[in-house]
Structures are given as structure tokens and as C-alpha cells.
């Protein structure tokens, strides 16, 4: 395999890993606070839709009038794609809030709530898309301004000529959308917040022993809701990246199970930020490899497409069975907090 192919595969790895990573970190915050979230998929999906929908509407809208108030000046405050991002984050946070209502305030079953919200997102996105755009549950294709452009890092072109380093810098490191860099930056940030700040200490504590937090005079409910806000933001970014970064619009079910893979990555990462990065990159790599080498001819026989397609999943099982062993989740995960002495 030559360097170029390698770079291409890794490049593709980064793109495929980014939504996983954002969702995985989102799940990390939620589960570290003791709220199991299998609704990552739904949050990403609804964020993907609203970011694309709002970006599309802002790019085409001439003026903004809301309830008779002229708001056009607002529109020019940010590019359409940023408005899209905001909308995506807001939508994802609404779902997050619903999840909080069910699992924190009303001490409901967190798994059910997650399942329900996934269904809700899957239905609502297409329903609204149909009512708004009548394009069969998709948004119009986004034009320039409605999408995150790829960023060329400084000196990328100048350095391209340098052997090995040049192409790696110019093709692999440079040339991604801002959200990719944001996702990568979110890893050390998450680590820092979790392990170096007061908020992180409390967050980790509330996922392990909410009664300890409660008796220490800190609000369990408040902490858990705050973690869900972060989850909402990160899932919103993940969705926006799918629809307005990688793609130019929303298509029904476009998350295609990535929320579940992110959950797998989270367990694989044992709920730790740096491990999450490696886990997501690994999953991204597996997918990238499977995408590229579909007709793998081993000389003796040809590996069927189906095997390559299922390879990331098979390897996940093998890795979980062989190397990770028992992953111990935050102890209070999944259980609503009820005061007792």
C-alpha cells in the first residue's frame, strides 16, 4: 500500500470518525452523570435535519419577518450554516430535555425513553421535512453558505511538496470542516473538564454515587440536567456535521445507526475521553477499510462483499470479547435517583 492510499484511508477515517466521536463524547457526559442514553441516534438525526432545514431556509430567505417583526438584521449576523448549527443544537437539546424530564424528573426508564426518542426523531424529521419542503422527507440541497466549507490550514499548499510530511499535512490534517477540528479539540477539553474542574468532579460523582453528591449538598437533578445540556450540544454538532459538513442536506434516516456505533465506542472506551478518541478512530478506520476493499481477492477465494460489509461489526465483537474484558460502567447508570438514608 502506498502512502497516498494510506492517507486517503486515514482521511476517510477522520471524516467517518468525527460524528461518532462527537456522539460518543455526548454519551460520555450523559452516562458519566448516570443517565444512560441510547437516544444518541435520534438526537443526531433531529439535529441533522434542523441544521440542514434552517440552513436551507436562511440561504433562500430574502428577509426575516417573525410575527410581524422585521428580523432581517439577525439573519446577517451569522452565515446560514451557523444558523443551521444553532438550530441543530437547539433541536437536539429539546430531545435531551425530554430525556431528562423522563429519566430525571419523572424517574422513568432511561432505556425506554431513549428508544422512544429515537423513534420520535425518525418520524418527526421526515414529517416536518415533508410539510415544509415536500421533497419526500429530505431538505433541498444546500448551496454554498449553507454548508461548512473545508478549511485549508496555513501553509498546507506550500508544504505539500515536502516528502511524507507534506502530503500528510496537506491532505490528512488540513482540509476538513471546522467541526472536525472542534471534535478533536473536544477530547482534551472533555478530559480537562472531567478530571480537572469542580464541575467534572461532581459530574463523575453523581454518576457513581448520587447519594454522596446529594448529602454533600449539591443538586443531583441540576447536575444531571446540565450534563444533558452538554450531551445535546455535542449531538447537535454531530448531526450538523453529517448534514451540513459531510453532506449538503438531510436525507431520511441519514444517521444510519451511527448513534449505536458511538455507544459501542463509548463502552469500548470504558467511558474515558482519550480512549473514546481511539475507539472512534478505530471504528472509523474499520469502516473506511471496509468501504475501500470490498472485493477482496485473496487469490484462493474472493471474500464476499457481505463479509467486508459486516467486518467492522465482527471485529467489534472480537475486540470486546478478546481485549476489553468487562467494561465497568458508572455505577449509578440507568437507575433514577431516589433519596434514601
Amino acid at each position: 500500500m502506498d502512502l497516498n492510499t494510506l492517507i486517503q484511508i486515514l482521511d476517510s477515517t477522520i471524516r467517518l470518525a468525527t460524528p461518532l466521536l462527537l456522539a460518543c463524547l455526548a454519551g460520555l457526559f450523559s452516562e458519566r452523570s448516570g443517565i444512560i442514553d441510547i437516544g444518541l441516534e435520534g438526537k443526531m438525526l433531529i439535529a441533522a435535519f434542523f441544521s440542514a432545514a434552517i440552513a436551507a431556509m436562511v440561504t433562500t430567505a430574502e428577509s426575516w419577518v417573525l410575527l410581524g417583526v422585521e428580523l432581517t438584521w439577525l439573519k446577517d449576523l451569522f452565515p446560514a450554516v451557523i444558523w443551521g448549527l444553532f438550530a441543530g443544537i437547539a433541536a437536539s437539546m429539546v430531545l435531551s430535555g425530554l430525556h431528562g424530564l423522563a429519566s430525571i424528573t419523572f424517574r422513568g426508564n432511561q432505556l425506554i425513553s431513549g428508544v422512544a426518542l429515537n423513534f420520535l426523531a425518525s418520524g418527526v424529521t421526515v414529517l416536518i421535512a415533508q410539510v415544509w419542503f415536500s421533497q419526500g422527507g429530505r431538505t433541498p440541497s444546500l448551496m454554498a453558505g449553507g454548508r461548512f466549507e473545508n478549511i485549508t490550514l496555513p501553509l498546507a499548499e506550500t508544504l505539500r511538496g515536502v516528502p511524507i510530511i507534506g502530503p500528510i499535512y496537506a491532505d490528512l490534517i488540513s482540509g476538513h470542516s471546522i467541526l472536525v477540528y472542534a471534535a478533536l479539540l473536544a477530547v482534551p477539553l472533555t478530559w480537562w473538564v472531567l478530571f480537572r474542574t469542580r464541575y467534572g468532579l461532581r459530574l463523575r460523582a453523581v454518576g457513581e454515587a448520587p447519594e454522596a453528591v446529594d448529602t454533600a449538598g449539591v443538586s443531583v437533578v441540576g447536575l444531571r440536567y446540565s450534563s444533558l445540556v452538554i450531551t445535546g450540544v455535542l449531538c447537535g454538532m454531530a448531526g450538523a456535521y453529517l448534514a451540513t459538513g459531510l453532506q449538503a442536506g438531510f436525507v431520511r434516516e441519514m444517521t444510519a445507526g451511527r448513534g449505536y456505533i458511538a455507544l459501542a465506542a463509548l463502552i469500548f472506551a470504558k467511558w474515558r475521553p482519550w480512549y473514546a478518541l481511539w475507539a472512534c478512530l478505530l471504528f472509523g478506520l474499520l469502516q473506511a477499510v471496509a468501504l475501500r476493499y470490498q472485493n477482496l481477492d485473496l487469490g484462493l477465494f474472493v471474500v464476499p462483499v457481505q463479509v467486508m460489509d459486516a467486518l467492522p461489526y465482527i471485529l467489534t465483537v472480537v475486540i470486546l470479547a478478546g481485549f476489553v474484558g468487562k467494561a465497568i460502567p458508572p455505577r449509578a447508570g440507568g437507575e433514577p435517583y431516589v433519596k434514601e438514608r
Binding site: 419523572f106 426508564n109 425506554i112 422512544a116 414529517l127 415533508q130 463502552i267 461489526y313 478478546g322
Partner: protein, 364 residues
């Protein structure tokens, strides 16, 4: 301490929750510019007011009973089996092999054979995640999700490359021989003068599903194995103390769970399509999660929840037939039903408890 009579908890809470879900659904329908009353009457009319409607409702119900029981049994052992979908797919493979390659003389025998095959294949597919969980501590949620994807790939390979009749376009097996065709409700109940259930897919498998409910109830609440499964689900350390092997229970519970999911394939594959198609499960494995959760993992609850979802599926199909409401509306309604009855049930329960307590104090 119980603050509310059992009947209120079992009947009143879900009922009010469903009403709330219906109310919000109505708002959604209004929001997309349609008439909720009309929509509901269309759904009821199509799903419950004619025998064919019931034929479809009960067909879907049958699927959901099996997948619901699948999730419920695993839940009792405190395992979250998300793999019903994959287990049902592979169960379908078992049914197809049994029907295609064994020359059955009569459908009754074929049904027995297919039942065994479906359960065995579904159980086998659940075995690996169960074993990995028991022996290696691999998280069952993740492994079963992965096994869903892998099952789809296996089925795709088998259908596209092996079982597909030469020249056929469909990734599907050949039609099963006539001797394996199961009696439908139409065959069983329609008379010359009264063409009941015409063309609807509900078939004898429904009764197997009902039987499965009874058997699961007996298993969980009347047998030693069920006693051990529940004990293990409540407390692994106590189970160890009592001499209940965690490995054995994990594996057995998952085998039963997977077997139940596999049985669903009899309904779709042998009963309805009479051949194995690619997407025979259609997400019923996931609906099963909602059904089990709503049904509180109790067979009676599972049956009722399955019926509700069967109604939603069939009513939704009718809605799509006669109105311009996008089919995703049904997904939204399902989501709301799950949300209100499953996750937000305390929103109803808490005020109800307060009301009951106020009354209780008065009479005491």
C-alpha cells in the same frame, strides 16, 4: 409501601398515559393540517371495524408478541437483548431451510418442524452474545447490536448467493411447497356466505404466540428456572449464594429469548410471505423492546402492548391509504405512545398516587 391499589397501577396509569399520547398525537396531526378526529376514526375503522382489519392487526400483533416476549425474558435476567431483530432474521433462515429442504407431508408436521428450526436458529444466534457476556463480560447490548448487523449480512449473502432461485431478481428464496402453507384466519373462519378475514395475513401462528405467552408466564412465575432467572436478575450475588450459576442462567435466558425472537419468523416467513425475503423482520425486533417495556415484562402486558402496536401499524396503514398524511406520522405516534406509557408513566402515577392517598386517608 403501596400507595395505590394494584388495579390502578396496572390499568389506570397506562390508560391515562395512552390518552395523553393520543392527545399529543392529535396536536401533531393538527399541526400538519389534518383532522385528528377523522384520522382516528379512519384508523379504528380500518384496524378494528372489519375482519380483514383485525386480520392485519393480529398479524402484526403476533410478531410483536414474540419479539416482546423475547425482550421480556431477557429483562427478567437483567439483560437488555437488543438483538431480537437479528435473532428473528436468522430464525427466518431456519424456517426457510426447514420448509424448503424437508419434504413435509402435511402442514401440521411442517409447523412443528419449522417451530423447532426457528427457535433453534434464533437461540443459536443469541448464544454467542450470551456466552461472551457470561464468560468474557462483553456487554450484551453492544454485542447484540453488532449481531443484528452481522445477521443482516449473513442473510444477504445466503439469499443473494445461495438460496435465490436461478434467474430470480428478488433476494429471496423460492416459494415454500404447498404442504408447508399454514392455514390463515381466512381458511379457518371464513365460510362461503361470510368471507371473513379475506386476504389478511393473520394465521395460525397467532395462537402459537398466545400459547407462548402462557408458556412464558409459566416459565417465569411457576418453574424453578424462572425463579432462578428472576433471582439472578434481581441480585447476582444472592443468586451465587443460592447456588444459581450465573453462566448457566445468562446463557439459558438468552437462548430462550433468542428462540422466542426466532419464532416470529414462522408468522412472517411461513405464514405470510411463504418464502424468506430479505427484510422480513421489518424492525419488529425493536418494537419488541417497546412492547416488553410497556408490558412491564409480563406476558399479559406484552400481549396487550403488542395488540396496541398491532393496531397502530394497521391503523397507520389505513391512514396512509386514504389520506395524504405521510406514513411517518405513525412512527411519531408510536414514539409518543412509548414515551408516555413507558418513560413518562410516573408523570401520571405521581399525581394519581397523591389523589389515592387523599382518598385513602379519608376512608381510613
Amino acid at each position: 409501601m403501596d400507595r395505590m391499589p394494584a388495579w390502578a397501577d396496572a390499568v389506570l396509569v397506562p390508560l391515562i398515559s395512552i390518552l395523553l399520547a393520543a392527545l399529543v398525537s392529535a396536536l401533531v396531526i393538527l399541526a400538519i393540517g389534518e383532522n385528528p378526529v377523522e384520522a382516528l376514526s379512519l384508523m379504528i375503522d380500518g384496524a378494528l371495524m372489519r375482519s380483514t382489519g383485525w386480520g392485519y392487526t393480529l398479524y402484526y400483533t403476533t410478531n410483536f408478541i414474540f419479539t416482546g416476549l423475547c425482550v421480556a425474558v431477557a429483562f427478567h435476567a437483567r439483560m437488555f437483548n437488543i438483538g431480537g431483530e437479528g435473532q428473528a432474521m436468522i430464525g427466518g433462515l431456519g424456517v426457510a431451510l426447514a420448509c424448503l429442504f424437508i419434504p413435509w407431508p402435511h402442514w401440521t408436521l411442517a409447523l412443528v418442524g419449522a417451530t423447532v428450526a426457528a427457535a433453534a436458529f434464533g437461540a443459536a444466534w443469541a448464544f454467542v452474545p450470551a456466552y461472551l457476556q457470561a464468560r468474557r463480560g462483553s456487554h450484551i447490548v453492544i454485542t447484540t447490536i453488532m449481531f443484528n448487523f452481522i445477521a443482516a449480512a449473513v442473510l444477504n449473502y445466503v439469499l443473494v448467493n445461495i438460496l435465490r432461485p436461478a434467474g430470480a431478481m428478488d433476494p429471496a428464496t423460492a416459494s415454500f411447497p404447498a404442504a408447508t402453507h399454514l392455514p390463515t384466519f381466512q381458511d379457518m373462519f371464513a365460510t362461503a356466505g361470510n368471507p371473513l378475514f379475506r386476504g389478511s395475513p393473520a394465521n395460525i401462528t397467532f395462537f402459537i404466540a398466545v400459547l407462548a405467552c402462557v408458556l412464558v408466564w409459566l416459565l417465569i412465575w411457576r418453574t424453578r428456572l424462572g425463579y432462578e432467572i428472576r433471582a439472578f436478575g434481581h441480585s447476582e450475588s444472592a443468586a451465587r449464594y443460592a447456588g444459581i450459576s450465573p453462566v448457566r442462567i445468562t446463557v439459558l435466558a438468552m437462548l430462550i429469548s433468542g428462540g422466542l425472537a426466532g419464532l416470529m419468523a414462522i408468522n412472517t416467513t411461513m405464514g405470510e410471505a411463504e418464502r424468506l425475503v430479505m427484510n422480513a423482520t421489518e424492525g419488529a425486533g425493536f418494537i419488541g423492546i417497546a412492547v416488553a417495556l410497556m408490558g412491564r415484562s409480563h406476558p399479559v402486558g406484552v400481549f396487550l402492548a403488542a395488540l396496541l402496536f398491532g393496531f397502530l401499524y394497521q391503523g397507520g396503514a389505513e391512514l396512509a391509504l386514504w389520506t395524504n398524511i405521510p406514513r411517518e406520522l405513525i412512527t411519531v405516534i408510536q414514539a409518543l405512545v412509548i414515551l408516555f406509557t413507558g418513560a413518562l408513566d410516573n408523570m401520571v402515577r405521581m399525581p394519581l398516587e397523591r389523589i389515592f392517598m387523599a382518598f385513602g386517608k379519608g376512608t381510613r
